[in-house]
């Protein structure tokens, strides 16, 4: 809020009326560390008289204690609100600040410059209308400038203000400014999908061209930052797009009302309009539209509404109501752009949770096509994505979803990836297009079922999955178990880690990505064995919870028996039947589980065998006992 408007004291009612009609502009400040993002925001708040006495006096005392500007006010302290930020003098997470001018109301997200906190920068960028990208005039365009510009453009920000900052430290040199602007334009035209770049020479610290035109840059004839913010055009492009509303929640207060609630993602809708429900493709007609507590005849993008339809069609959360004449598509396989946000790298083959608008699914990462070097914009071959890396990757989902490409519709094409175990948000993704191959491969239905094959063998198919360190005794127990089952007349098959790697998996190594693929294939083979009605015994180190879980989900719930052969590392190492531990210790074998690669202990195995107190024979009996329950 600006505290300068005359109207406040003379005619508060009129002031409120004008204020009420202001539009909202959301923007971010981004750029490299120490380019002055927080300082710029602090300066804008200060110069637009947004700071109150108590905040100012606190800022003055904080500046003396913690500031980096000597005896001057350190405006960065206004936004760096976390204790750790103030102590270290850096920005860790996005801060949201609010102010308004006579024309507009602003929400500004001040984003961190450190590469480590890129995920927090992306958080701020994803909701921004425009971006202010700061560049320190002394250093020019840096890797982080490019990274932030790339992410800004990737999430769909079309207008950028390039603030060339700290001009006071280069004697307000027009030459330095021109050089930086030229370099940035060259980078942007090659790499970014940005419609308009507006450069402004500033000193956030001294206040040059922030709110008021500076006398230090007589050669600059353009707008100040505040003038730009007041005048930049932001049209709501979503209004002109076809109608889409993701159904968030079904409102059923009584048997005679059944409403579908959601936020309109794009377009507009009127009572009587024809819609389609995707996935599925059923058609219906809008009967009523409710916003807040009243009925309306029309609603548009950005409004939260509740809709009723004129028939009893089945609609639930995750369905999308779309314009019948301009529907979206549905698919379960896509090419996507992914920004990875977690310490644990992204592994093709691994499963994560997918969440877009209101749709959730189980996602399996396909092959990584390449990653993008944000500095050189080269496409580099890559097997995995590390934190803060961006890559092009295929994904497949366990169900069909409604979608548009992200470039056409952000709500319909943006998604997040969630870790199945920690529930952390570990990546963001944008749908480019659907892969049509799944359309052309149809599931062939067979007349003889798994059940009939199993019945013929008078048994129930099972997958007995042994996991444990190398040398823990998995194979010995598996061997005895199979002999026992065989003598009981059961039809069995054993898949063994070493044997599989001699055949179908001989192209795979032992790095984490290959280990994930190894287990994925084994899981699929085991699934086929169970389809054949067999009892399948799988014996693999299978060190990651993720892949064991994937194997478990490939078969039916009661078919999977996880046997954790729990032998302590020092015991395995002492036994060292194959001499592998000695080699691993001497560094001859890299990525050896237990030595140089982790083993994630199963959390809830069906059976745990402590081989220090249980013989292989007893272990096999224990499994058969569990089995025949």
């Amino acid at each position: 809020m600006s505290h300068t408007s005359e109207l406040i004291s003379t005619d508060i009612d009129l002031y409120l009326k004008t204020h009420q009609e202001k539009s909202l502009l959301r923007f971010i400040t981004c750029g490299s560390v120490d380019d002055g993002k927080s300082t710029l925001i602090g300066r804008m708040l200060y110069e637009s008289h947004m700071l109150l006495d108590d905040q100012l006096s606190l800022l003055e005392s904080d500046s003396k204690k913690l500031g980096t500007q000597g005896s001057e006010i350190d405006f960065a302290l206004l936004v760096d609100g976390l204790a750790a930020e103030r102590e270290q003098g850096i920005t860790i997470d996005v801060a949201y600040r609010f102010f308004s001018t006579d024309k507009r109301k602003y929400i500004v997200a001040d984003t961190p410059g450190h590469e480590e906190y890129t995920r927090n920068m992306a958080t701020g960028a994803s909701t921004a209308d425009i971006a202010i990208i700061l560049v320190d005039a002394q250093h020019g365009i840096l890797t982080q400038t490019r990274r932030h510009s790339f992410i800004t453009s990737m999430v769909g920000v079309k207008k950028v203000l390039l603030a060339v900052n700290k001009l006071d430290l280069v004697n307000y040199s027009e030459e330095v400014y021109d050089k930086i602007v030229k370099e940035y334009n060259k980078f942007a035209s090659n790499a970014l999908d940005i419609e308009e770049i507006t450069p402004i020479p500033i000193s956030a610290l001294m206040g040059d061209n922030v709110v008021n035109k500076s006398t230090n840059t007589p050669w600059y004839k353009g707008q100040t930052i505040m003038q730009y913010l007041e005048n930049v055009e932001i049209s709501n492009k979503n209004l002109d797009k076809p109608f889409r509303i993701p159904v968030q929640w079904v409102n059923r207060p009584s048997s005679d009302f059944r409403g579908f609630s959601g936020l309109i993602a794009s377009g507009s809708i009127r009572v009587g309009d024809k819609v389609k429900i995707i996935p599925g493709g059923q058609s219906s007609t809008i009967e009523t539209i409710i916003t807040g507590d009243r009925e309306v005849i029309k609603a548009s993008a950005g409004e939260s509404i509740t809709i009723t339809l004129d028939d009893q069609i089945d609609v639930s959360r995750g369905d999308i109501l779309v314009d019948k004449k301009n529907p979206c598509s549905e698919a379960d396989q896509f090419q996507t752009r992914i920004l990875w946000m977690h310490d644990d790298p992204m592994m093709p083959g691994r499963q994560y949770l997918f969440k877009s608008n209101t749709q959730s699914a189980l996602l399996t990462l396909g092959k990584l096509k390449h990653r993008i070097d944000v500095n050189t914009l080269d496409n580099l071959p890559a097997k995995i994505l590390e934190m803060n890396e961006i890559g092009i990757c295929n994904i497949s989902l366990d169900r069909q979803i409604a979608f548009d490409s992200y470039d056409n519709n952000q709500t319909m094409g943006g998604f997040i990836l969630i870790d199945k175990f920690s529930n952390n948000t570990i990546g963001m993704g944008l749908i480019d297009f659907a892969l049509r191959r799944s359309d052309n491969i149809h599931w062939q239905k067979m007349d003889i079922s798994k059940e009939s094959r199993a019945q013929q063998k008078l048994q129930i198919p099972k997958l007995i999955w042994f996991t444990g360190l190398s040398g823990s005794g998995k194979s010995s127990i598996a061997n005895i178990l199979e002999k026992k089952l065989h003598s009981l007349g059961k039809h069995t098959i054993t898949l063994d880690g070493d044997n599989i790697r001699h055949g179908i998996n001989r192209d795979l190594g032992f790095n984490e990505a290959d280990r994930v693929e190894n287990i994925r294939r084994v899981g699929e083979i085991a699934k086929l064995m169970l389809e054949g009605g067999l009892i399948c015994i799988a014996s693999f180190i299978s060190p990651f919870e993720s892949e064991r879980h994937m194997a478990r989900t490939l078969v039916s719930e009661n078919e999977f028996i996880e046997v954790f052969v729990d032998t302590p590392l020092h015991v395995c190492e002492k036994r060292d039947v194959k001499g592998l531990y000695a080699k691993a210790r001497s560094g001859e074998i890299p990525n050896f589980t237990g030595i140089s690669s982790p083993f994630e202990e199963p959390l809830n195995p069906e059976i745990r065998i402590d081989t220090t107190v249980t013989s292989a024979e007893d272990a096999a009996n224990q499994i058969i006992e569990y089995f025949s329950k």
Binding site: M1, H3, L16, V79, L263, D293
Partner: protein
């Protein structure tokens, strides 16, 4: 759409997202103006249905008596499912801001009380009315703010929050605090109350009230539990409150404003921020962040 309509649509979207994904949500109802707005938005979000979750007030036994009256009337008028929780141990110990200090009182009656109630009723999501413009650590908090099973907030390790896709997944025992008013400012709240005719506690409007002046903080003599100092005589002053909490910890401001436009006018022309009247924020640097980490709302 103007900015208030945008903020309203966003808050309603957030509330529906919680109801669609949470097992057992609750709305923290503090009886203040922000809670009044939140309640109003909830009515709209689920219309024509009833609000599909209970409201919970963590009572410290030192709230203004007018707040309690307003709370009970609101619950009755709107037919709300209202839970009132008072920390029983605090009650037994007779925790008192005068004897035990503001910090201990707030910690035991509010923070501990809230954690107890969350565990007791096994709520997995709690709505709070906090706004990002209130305080610097709030400005950093996500809309869906994750809490460990010990109710702790880890400000250095927040989940990324992309677009308006909210990750509501949690493991058993963990919880999420959700702030639908994150992007509202104090002015937005007042203006919305004005436009939508939302009922608020009369303490926000100026009236002659018995006051004692303690080092510049004007304390309302709300009941006879307020210990008067030597020679201290309550004086009738025309005052109102910008924030409401425990009466011994909420300073009044001298004012003549008794309509919403006048309140807004006064707010816009004032030179101090609203939380200055709140005594707990001044307990130490970064005190709000510390309190929040420990589970304060």
């Amino acid at each position: 759409m103007n900015h208030l309509a945008t903020l309203e649509a966003e808050a309603i979207h957030i509330m529906r997202e919680v109801v669609a994904s949470a097992e057992n949500p609750v709305m923290l109802y503090s009886v203040g103006k922000d809670s009044s707005v939140m309640l109003h938005l909830a009515k709209k979000a689920f219309f024509p249905g009833k609000i599909p979750f209970p409201l919970m007030h963590i009572d410290t036994m030192w709230k203004f008596s007018e707040m309690i009256q307003f709370r009970d009337k609101t619950a009755k008028d709107l037919d709300l499912d209202l839970i009132v929780h008072i920390n029983p141990e605090g009650k037994k110990l007779g925790i008192n801001p005068f004897i035990h200090g503001s910090s201990k009182h707030t910690n035991i009656m509010k923070t501990e009380g809230l954690k107890q109630a969350m565990d007791k009723y096994k709520f997995d999501v709690a709505f709070g009315g906090a706004r990002r413009d209130e305080e610097k650590s709030r400005a950093k908090e996500r809309i869906f703010s994750f809490r460990t099973s010990e109710h702790r907030w880890d400000p250095k390790n927040q989940r990324p929050e992309l677009w308006n896709i909210f990750n509501s997944n949690i493991n058993k025992g963990e919880s999420i605090r959700v702030f639908p008013l994150s992007n509202w400012t104090e002015l937005d709240i007042w203006q919305y109350i004005h436009l939508e005719n939302i009922p608020i506690v009369p303490l926000y409007f100026s009236k002659e009230r018995p006051i004692v002046d303690r080092d510049g903080t004007l304390i309302l003599v709300d009941d006879d539990r307020l210990p008067l100092l030597n020679g201290e005589i309550p004086l009738l002053k025309s005052v109102r409150f910008r924030t409401l909490g425990c009466y011994p910890l909420s300073g009044a401001v001298e004012s003549k404003a008794n309509s919403l436009p006048e309140i807004i006018q006064e707010m816009l022309m004032t030179t101090t921020s609203e939380r200055q009247d709140r005594i707990i924020d001044h307990d130490g640097n970064a005190s709000m962040e510390k309190k929040k980490q420990e589970g304060y709302f």
